[in-house]
Amino acid sequence: MNERDRFESVLRKRPHPHVPFFQRPQWTRRRFFRSLAAGVGGYYLAGPWSPGLSKAAAAVETKNTAKQVIFLFLEGAPSGVDTFDLKETPGVTPADFAPETINGVRIPTGILGGTAQIFDKVAVIRSGSAWALAHPLAQTWFQIGRNPTSPLGKYAPHIGSVVAIEKEPERRPDQIFPAFIALNAANAPGSGYLPVQFSPFKTQPEAGGLATTEHAAGESRFRERWDLLASMDSVLRGPQSPLGKAATGMGELYANAESLMFNPLVAGAFGFSEQESARYGGSGFGNACLIARKIVEADQGTRFIQVTLGGWDHHQGIYDRQEVNGREVGSNIYAQCGQFDPAFAALVSDLEASGHLDETLIVVSGEFGRTVGPLTNANNGRDHYLQMFYVFAGGGVKGGTVIGETDPTGAFTIDAGWSRYRDVRPEDVEATIYSALGINWTKVRDDDPLGRGFEYVPNSDEDAYGPVDELWT
C-alpha cells in the first residue's frame, strides 16, 4: 500500500470519510475548481478517540533544530500563482511583476524584490491544500491545527499555546517574557482548555514600547505607589491570604508584572526607532516583524511569536495598483506585498546577521489559496481556493528548496514532493512546527475536559499527518 492509499484508509477507518472527491484523480480536482461557485466546501477530519489507547506518544524522531517559531499568518488567503508559485499567464500576469529566475525559481521581483534577495534562505511548499474555504473556519483551523468542528476542536489550544506549555520546563528563572506573543493578532484563538498562562500575549507594536509596561506618571512615582500598595495589601495578597487560594497568587502575579516594567529588556524588545521601522517597511506588519526579531534576540523565554497580516482577500481588483507618494495603497496584491516583502526580507536577513536564524523557524501561510488562471470576470479578482503554498525559513530548514509542483495553471498538485505523496495539510505544517522545536507531535495529553485524550496533531496514532522532513534536506 502506498502512502497516499494508507492516508485515505486511515481517514476512512476513523471513520469519517475525510477524503473528498477532488482529492482523488486529478481531473476531478478540475471539476471541483469549476464547481467552486456552487460553494462546495472542504471535508473534515474528526477522529473519535479509540478507547484504551495509551495517553502517550509514539516513538518519533523530532528534528529539534529550532528554539522558537515566528509564524507570519497572512489572513484573507494570499494568491499563490502571483507570489510563491508564480504562473506567468500571458495577458493575465502584469508586466510589472518583473519575474526573474533566482536559484532556478521564478520570482515576481516587482512585488517580492526583497524576498528575492534572501531567497537562498527560503523554502517553499507548493503542494499545500486547505480543508475549508470559509475564512474564520480555515483561520481557526490553521491556528489550532485541527478541525474546529471536531469535538475537541472546541477546546483546542492555539499551536502557540501547545508550544508554550511544552517549553515551559525549559524556562530559565531569569527569563521574563511570556512564552507566546501574538502581534497584530487580536482575533487569534486562545489557550483553549490549557491554562490561560499559555494564552497568547496579544499586543500591537508601538514605537514607545509595550504600552502596558509604561507608567504614565513615571518610574519614581510608580515606585512610591508600588511601595504604598505593598504596605496596604500585603495581607490579602500574601501567602496566608484570608481570602484563600485565588488571592494568594496575586502577590506573585504582580511581582512578575512589575519585573516587566522599567526593564531595559522589555523597552529594548518592544520599542523601536523610526530608522529601524523604515528598514522593515514602516508598516504595522513591518513593525511587528521587527519586534518579533528583537524578542528572539532578547532570549527571554518566548518560544512562539505570531504576526498577523490581514487584507489578502482579493476578490476584487487584485492587480489594481495604486500608488500614493511612492507607497502602494489600496486593497490589491501590490499593497499587500508592499507590506509583507520588506518586512519578511529584513526579518530573515537580520536574524541571519545576529546568528539567530538557524534557531528560529519562520513559517508563512494563509488560511487557504486563491483561484488560478484568468481573473474573475466580474471583479478582476481571485476567489477562494484550496490549493495553497507555505513558506519556511531558518530553524534548520534548508534554504532555496522548493517542495511540490503544481500543474501549469497552479490549480492542483502534480508532484507532492514529499514522503507522504499527497498534499501538505495544515496538520502537517503543525507537525512540522512541533518537530522543528523538538516536540513530539504524536503526544496525547490526558487532561482535556472531555477525557478523550488531546492529540497534539489529530489522528497521530495512525500517523495520519507528519512533519515535512524534506524541508531539512
Binding site: G41, P48, A132, V235, A246, E258, L260, L450
Partner: protein, 692 residues
C-alpha cells in the same frame, strides 16, 4: 459583633461545638449583636477594628458617618452616570407549599447547605458583614459595584430586613437585566463571528435584545427558551422582501434603521448551529449538541451524535456510556425542518459600485424536512440505517423520556414543549445560576450533567458516586423553580437571601480544600472584565460613551455590550485615548470569544499590568483631570478624603487603622500626589479586584 468574633474563635478551636448550634441561631445572634453602643470620634482609630473587624459598619453611623452623609447630599462629588434604581422593589415571594423531601432534609437552601455541613462536622464561616454583603450581592446581581451613596445608605440603615430589601431592589434594577443578558449571551454563545458563521451585527444585536427584553420583563425562563427554539424569520428581526426589485431598494431597506429597525428575536440561536463542510445533518447535529449543552447541561450529547457512548464515554458518564447515536438523531431531528438561508441573488449595483452583500440570515420552516440517514461525508461519521429494512429517516424523538411532534406544532415548538417539561431543564438552569453566585455548581462543571447519577435513591453502580454535591438541594431548587413558573428573579432572590450565600469569604478555622464542595465559606472570584471596567467608571468618574451598533446605539457600561468580540469598536482617531484603552483592558481579563475560548476567571500578568498602567486607571487617579471623582475628593479634609476613597473604590469605609495610615499618607508629601497614589493603590488591592 464582638460576640460573633469570639464565637468564631471558639468554633475554630472546637469545631464540634458547632453541632450544638443551628445556623439560624448563629445568624440571629449576629443580628442581635448588631447595635454597638460605642461611639467614635472622627479620625480617631479604634484599636479593635481590624481589616475584617466587626465594627466598621457601625463606624459610619456615628460622627463621621453622619457628616459624610450630609456632605454627599450637598456636594456634587461625581459625574457618575449610574442608572437610577427604580424604587419599586419586588414584592418578596413566599416560599410556597411544602415539598416532597428527601428524608431528613429541609425546605430551604439553608436547610440543605447547613444540614450537610452539620452532618459532616464542618463549621461554616461567619456571616458576611453588611458592607461585604452589599458589594457581593450588587456585583453578583447587577455586575456593578455599589455607589458611594448606596454604601452609605445601606450601612446606615437600621432596618433588620434591609438585606432582603436590597436584593429586591437590585433585581428590579435595569442593571440586573444588563448583567444577566451578558450571562445568557455567554451561555448561548451569542457572538458576531464564529469559526462557522457570521451572525452579522444586526443578528447578534437582535438576539441580545431578545435576552435583554426577556430579562427586563422577567419572562418565565421556560417561555424564553420555547420562544428561542421556535424562532423563525429574519435573524435580526427586520423586514425584508423575498426579492429585491432594484439594487437601490436593497440599499434603502437595509440601511434604514429607523423605518426598519432591528427587533428582538432568538433566531440567531438557531443560526449559531450552521455547520459548513458537510451535509445539512451536521447543522441539525450542531443544534442538538448546543441545545443539550446550554439548556440541559449535557455536553456529552455532542459525542453521542458521532457514535454510541459504549467504549467512548464509559469513564465519563453512566448515562453516556449507555446512550445510542440514534438518541442523538432523535434530538437533532427536531431541527430538520429548519432552514438557514440568505437571499440568493441581488440586482446588480449601478456601474462602478462594488456590490454589497446581504448581511442577514433567514430562519425558515420547511415542513417537508426530515433527518435522513443517508450521509457518507462531512464532519461526522456516516449516517446510515441500521439494516436494509430499517427506516431511512430518524423521526424527532426527545431522548430523555421520549415524545415527538404532537401535531399542530412546528418541530421547534415540539422540542421547546418537551424540553422545558423535562426536569433536567430546570436542574441545568438552577445549577448554571447557582454557580454564578457560589463559584461552583451543585453539579460541576455545570455542562457535564450525568442524568444517571442524580438520584441517591437509585445510585449508580460502583465505583460511580452520585454526581451533585447536594442532590436533594438540586431537586428542591429545580422543583421550586418549576413551581414558581421558572421565575429567574425568584431563584436569584432565594439564593441571595440565603444565609449560605451570605457567609463570609474569610474562614476562621483551619480551611480544608474539601470544604469547598460544601460551601463552608463564600468563594471569592476575580471581577469579570466588564465588572472591573464598570467599577472604574462608577468609582472614578469619567463616564465613557461607546458607540456599539445601529441597534444598541451608545452605552456607558461594558456590561451593556451585546458581545465580547469586537466590542467596543474604537474609531481610529480615538485609539490613543481612554476609549482606545478599553478593548485590551477587557481582553486581558479573559472575557473569551463565545466560540472557541470560554470566559475565564484566571489571573495573568497582563491583568496586573493593565490595572497598574492602563489609561483607564491612570486617568481616574489624576486629581488634576476634570471630571474625575478624585478632583472633588482632594478638596475635602484629609480624613474625609480617605473615607471617600475607600467608600468609592472598595465600597466600604476604611478601618480605623486604614483611616489613620491613609491620613498619614496624604500628609507625607505633596497632598494631591499622595491622594493619587492612595487611590491607585486601592485600585490594585485584592479587595477591589475580587468579589469576596
Amino acid at each position: 459583633m464582638r460576640i460573633l468574633l469570639r464565637l468564631g474563635v471558639i468554633l475554630g478551636a472546637a469545631g464540634l461545638a458547632w453541632l450544638a448550634i443551628t445556623p439560624s441561631s448563629v445568624l440571629s445572634q449576629a443580628q442581635a449583636a448588631e447595635p454597638d453602643e460605642e461611639t467614635h470620634d472622627i479620625g480617631v482609630p479604634h484599636a479593635g477594628c481590624s481589616f475584617f473587624g466587626a465594627k466598621r459598619e457601625d463606624f459610619l453611623r456615628v460622627g463621621l458617618g453622619a457628616s459624610l452623609m450630609a456632605m454627599t447630599a450637598r456636594a456634587e462629588l461625581t459625574t457618575l452616570v449610574a442608572a437610577a434604581i427604580p424604587s419599586s422593589a419586588l414584592v418578596p415571594r413566599s416560599r410556597g407549599r411544602a415539598f416532597d423531601k428527601f428524608p431528613g432534609q429541609g425546605d430551604s437552601i439553608d436547610d440543605f447547605i447547613f444540614g450537610e455541613l452539620k452532618l459532616r462536622g464542618i463549621p461554616p464561616a461567619l456571616p458576611a458583614t453588611d458592607s461585604e454583603f452589599l458589594r457581593r450581592v450588587t456585583l453578583d446581581l447587577t455586575g456593578r459595584i455599589p455607589t458611594q451613596q448606596e454604601v452609605i445608605a445601606f450601612l446606615s440603615d437600621a432596618d433588620t430586613e434591609k438585606r432582603g430589601r436590597k436584593v429586591s431592589e437590585l433585581l428590579a434594577a435595569s442593571q440586573w437585566a444588563d448583567r444577566w443578558a451578558m450571562f445568557f449571551g455567554d451561555l448561548y454563545h451569542n457572538t458576531i463571528v464564529t469559526a462557522q458563521v457570521n451572525r452579522y451585527v444586526d443578528g447578534r444585536d437582535a438576539f441580545h435584545l431578545f435576552l435583554l427584553e426577556s430579562l427586563r420583563q422577567n419572562k418565565p425562563y421556560d417561555q424564553l427558551v420555547r420562544e428561542m427554539l421556535a424562532s423563525t424569520g429574519a435573524a435580526d428581526g427586520r423586514n425584508y422582501p423575498d426579492e429585491y426589485a432594484t439594487y437601490e431598494q436593497f440599499q434603502q431597506i437595509t440601511s434604514d434603521y429607523q423605518g426598519n429597525p432591528v427587533k428582538p428575536t432568538g433566531a440567531s440561536y438557531i443560526v449559531g448551529g450552521l455547520t459548513t463542510g458537510g451535509p445539512v445533518q451536521d447543522t441539525y447535529d450542531a443544534l442538538a449538541a448546543a441545545t443539550a449543552r446550554d439548556l440541559l447541561g449535557i455536553s456529552h450529547m455532542d459525542c453521542i451524535l458521532c457514535h454510541d457512548g459504549r467504549n467512548h464515554l464509559d469513564a465519563l458518564s453512566v448515562w453516556g456510556a449507555g446512550a445510542k447515536r440514534a438518541q442523538g438523531w432523535g434530538l437533532a431531528a427536531f431541527f430538520s425542518q429548519t432552514r438557514l438561508t440568505r437571499p440568493r441573488r441581488l440586482p446588480p449595483p449601478p456601474e462602478g459600485q462594488q456590490p454589497l452583500r446581504p448581511q442577514y440570515w433567514i430562519v425558515a420552516g420547511d415542513e417537508r424536512g426530515d433527518y435522513r440517514l443517508n450521509t457518507t461525508t462531512g464532519n461526522r461519521p456516516a449516517r446510515q440505517p441500521a439494516s436494509d429494512a430499517a427506516a431511512v429517516v430518524a423521526p424527532p424523538a426527545y431522548p430523555f423520556g421520549g415524545g415527538g411532534n404532537a401535531g399542530g406544532e412546528s418541530h421547534g415548538e415540539a422540542l421547546g414543549r418537551l424540553l422545558t417539561a423535562d426536569k433536567q431543564f430546570a436542574r441545568a438552569a438552577v445549577n448554571y445560576v447557582w454557580r454564578e453566585f457560589f463559584g461552583r455548581g451543585i453539579v460541576e462543571p455545570p455542562d457535564q450533567f450525568d442524568p444517571a447519577r442524580l438520584d441517591p435513591a437509585a445510585p449508580p453502580p460502583d465505583p460511580w458516586t452520585i454526581q451533585p454535591s447536594h442532590p436533594a438541594l438540586l431537586e428542591f431548587l429545580a422543583g421550586e423553580f418549576i413551581e414558581q413558573g421558572f421565575d429567574l428573579q425568584w431563584l436569584m432572590s432565594e439564593i441571595a437571601n440565603s444565609s449560605a450565600y451570605q457567609l463570609s469569604s474569610k474562614y476562621e478555622g483551619v480551611w480544608n480544600p474539601t470544604y469547598e464542595t460544601y460551601f463552608a465559606r463564600h468563594q471569592v472570584r476575580r471581577l469579570r472584565a466588564e465588572e472591573l471596567h464598570d467599577a472604574l467608571l462608577i468609582s472614578g468618574g469619567l463616564p465613557a460613551q461607546y458607540t456599539v451598533s445601529p441597534a444598541i446605539g451608545a452605552v456607558t457600561f461594558a456590561m451593556q455590550f451585546p458581545d465580547v468580540q469586537l466590542v467596543p469598536r474604537v474609531p481610529r482617531r480615538e485609539q490613543t485615548g481612554l476609549l482606545g484603552a478599553t478593548p485590551s483592558f477587557l481582553d486581558s481579563f479573559f472575557r473569551g470569544d463565545r466560540d472557541e475560548t470560554a470566559r475565564s476567571g484566571e489571573g495573568s500578568i497582563l491583568q496586573a499590568l493593565q490595572l497598574m498602567n492602563s489609561p483607564l486607571v491612570l486617568a481616574r487617579v489624576d486629581a488634576r483631570r476634570q471630571g474625575t471623582a478624585l478632583a472633588a475628593i482632594v478638596e475635602q479634609a484629609d480624613d474625609v478624603a480617605v473615607q471617600l476613597l475607600y467608600l468609592r473604590v472598595l465600597s466600604r469605609p476604611p478601618t480605623a487603622e486604614e483611616l489613620s495610615s491613609g491620613v498619614q499618607t496624604l500628609r507625607s508629601g505633596e497632598r494631591t500626589a499622595k491622594a493619587e497614589d492612595l487611590m491607585w493603590s486601592l485600585y490594585n488591592k485584592v479587595d477591589f479586584i475580587f468579589n469576596y
